[in-house]
């Protein structure tokens, strides 16, 4: 360990202040880390529900489109898909969890203009309508899954980063500063002893 400090009294005072500060920071970071982990496990338990909902939405959407293909015909379903004009609109917001920023994408619920419906209503059945809305619901479930997955990953990154900083403070920064403090204290003591000896010698000389 290379300690590159000047063994002076003022340096010692500075160092003591820095150790105190680091120890305080260490405690705070530990609290942040624990908070993040708690947030993470809460999000994780929500993720299970979100992924379950995603699975259900997908199954439902697949079933609905199968039935629509059977009754309204594949030409109808596929051409309606090719012609679909009303692209869903998304809006972007973000949420902040303990300093972790996560983008939140939501599908805007706008009334579809029926003039944009690309199939006659009299010759088709509600199956094709329901297949379309089942896929819109699936998109909502996908957006939610994406949000929660991003949240989990960003929380993980932040936990990692915080852990590294906690570890660095605990095992490197603070021990090194304490080492330095010990060194300065030792050096100052040494100097003091030297001074005393020197003083004694001078005194002895003078008395001699």
């Amino acid at each position: 360990m290379a300690i590159d400090v000047k063994p002076t009294r003022s340096e010692l005072i500075k160092l003591k202040r820095r150790i105190k500060l680091s120890e305080k920071g260490y405690e705070l970071l530990k609290m942040k880390r624990d908070g993040l982990i708690m947030e993470f496990s809460e999000t994780l338990s929500m993720a299970r529900g979100v992924l379950e909902k995603l699975r259900e939405s997908y199954e439902n959407a697949e079933q609905k489109i199968s039935i629509a293909k059977a009754i309204d015909g594949t030409i109808m379903v596929r051409s309606a898909a090719l012609a679909a004009k009303s692209e869903p609109e998304f809006e972007l917001r973000s949420k902040n969890i303990m300093g972790v920023v996560v983008p939140v994408v939501k599908r805007k619920r706008v009334r579809k203009k029926l003039s944009e419906r690309e199939y006659g209503i009299i010759g088709t059945t509600a199956r094709i309508d329901e297949a379309t809305s089942a896929y819109e619901e699936l998109i909502d479930a996908i957006l939610e899954a994406a949000e929660i997955e991003t949240t989990l990953l960003r929380l993980l990154e932040e936990i990692e980063r915080t852990k590294r900083r906690v570890n660095a403070l605990e095992f490197k920064v603070i021990p090194e500063m304490k080492e330095a403090k010990k060194y300065i204290e030792f050096a100052l003591q040494e100097m003091e002893r030297d001074n005393i000896i020197r003083l004694k010698k001078i005194k002895a000389k003078a008395e001699a």
Partner: protein, 349 residues
């Protein structure tokens, strides 16, 4: 005078006696209700094998060297439906034949829609052909000839002189959805224009009016669920309904969803859907219940008037329902739809 009337009546009775007897026999080869339970438990290939032992054998055998899977099945179902309807026309004569022919024009509209749509969206001819049910005025070969025209405009030009041409002229300027609805409206308007000269024509007209009611109420519900406006709804209303006339539709189109739901109670088909409405079932389920009720209504009416056009119309509907059921089961099975979800979509009477 009296003798002429009697002779006319006798002729008609004879026409109906023959076709009714034939239809009675044909109805026996429809798949019985309890067989659907078996089909629901089968795998896709077992369903094909099962159908090879039924009246679908001929079509499956013919197509099996060229097609497989769901394409084989859907093509075979369409071919069989077509053959069955054409047979119905062949074995009937006189007024019943004329009425059945008029009713089956439904398929002309359907096939023309497929050609226009298929061509506009660049579907391969092969695939469009598979969707044909050449049971109207245009037989399979006519439709293939129509399809072989190079462009959509060529197809439309070839239809010059038909009532469809007037509507199809607007392809490209009007949304396709509107054109399709207008073709369907034209079909019903033409049917309802037949003068009710005799009792049997009146049976047909009453039957059509009820069918129009069902179409109209489905339209209203489907568009209401998507917050359709009054104008959007009225554009797709077929005139001439039995209870849901244009005026009645106007009233419904102006109502809120809840008001429409309460309003349903006064119509002839309310009993069929009352429970499902209270459960808040999706529209596709209400449609299934309406169709079931429609089948039962037609069957019971045809039992009251066995020597009329009604037994023939009942058969036409039941046959269509059967092919739809088979399509739902087969596709559902192939694509892993759970049994219960398939079953609730079937119209079993």
């Amino acid at each position: 005078m009296v003798s002429i009337l009697r002779r006319l009546r006798r002729t008609k009775v004879r026409d109906y006696a023959y076709i009714s007897a034939r239809v009675r026999v044909m109805r026996r080869s429809l798949i019985p209700a309890d067989e659907y339970r078996k089909l629901l438990n089968m795998e896709f290939n077992e369903i094909i094998r099962y159908l090879e032992e039924t009246q679908y054998k001929k079509e499956i055998d013919e197509l099996t060297h060229k097609y497989s899977g769901v394409r084989l099945l859907e093509y075979a179902l369409n071919m069989n439906l077509c053959a069955t309807y054409n047979k119905l026309v062949r074995i009937s004569s006189g007024i019943p034949r004329a009425l059945v022919t008029e009713y089956l024009r439904k398929w002309d509209v359907q096939n023309i829609k497929s050609i226009i749509r298929g061509k506009l969206f660049g579907f391969p001819d092969e695939e469009i052909k598979e969707s044909f049910v050449g049971a109207g005025e245009y037989k399979y070969e006519d439709l293939v000839a129509l399809l072989s025209r190079d462009t959509v405009e060529d197809v439309i030009n070839a239809l010059q002189g038909t009532p469809y041409h007037e509507i199809l002229k607007e392809v490209g300027t009007k949304p396709l959805s509107e054109i399709e609805d207008e073709l369907d409206k034209l079909y019903y308007t033409r049917l309802l224009d037949i003068r009710p000269e005799s009792e049997d024509v009146r049976y047909l007209l009453e039957f059509i009016r009820m069918e129009v009611d069902l179409k109209n109420i489905k339209t209203i519900l489907r568009l209401k669920v998507e917050d359709g406006t009054y104008d959007e709804i009225m554009k797709s209303i077929i005139p001439g309904g039995y209870q849901i006339s244009v005026d009645e539709a106007r009233k419904l189109a102006n109502m809120s969803w809840d008001e429409v739901m309460r309003g349903l109670e006064s119509y002839w088909f309310w009993d069929a859907i009352s429970e499902k409405v209270k459960e808040g079932a999706p529209l596709s389920i209400l449609e299934v219940y309406l169709d079931k009720y429609w089948c039962n209504t037609v069957i019971s009416k045809s039992n009251h008037y066995p020597l009329s056009i009604l037994p023939v119309l009942a058969y036409i509907i039941l046959k269509k329902v059967e092919t739809d059921n088979l399509r739902i089961i087969a596709r559902g099975k192939l694509e892993g739809v759970p049994k219960e979800a398939i079953e609730e979509q079937l119209v079993i009477v």
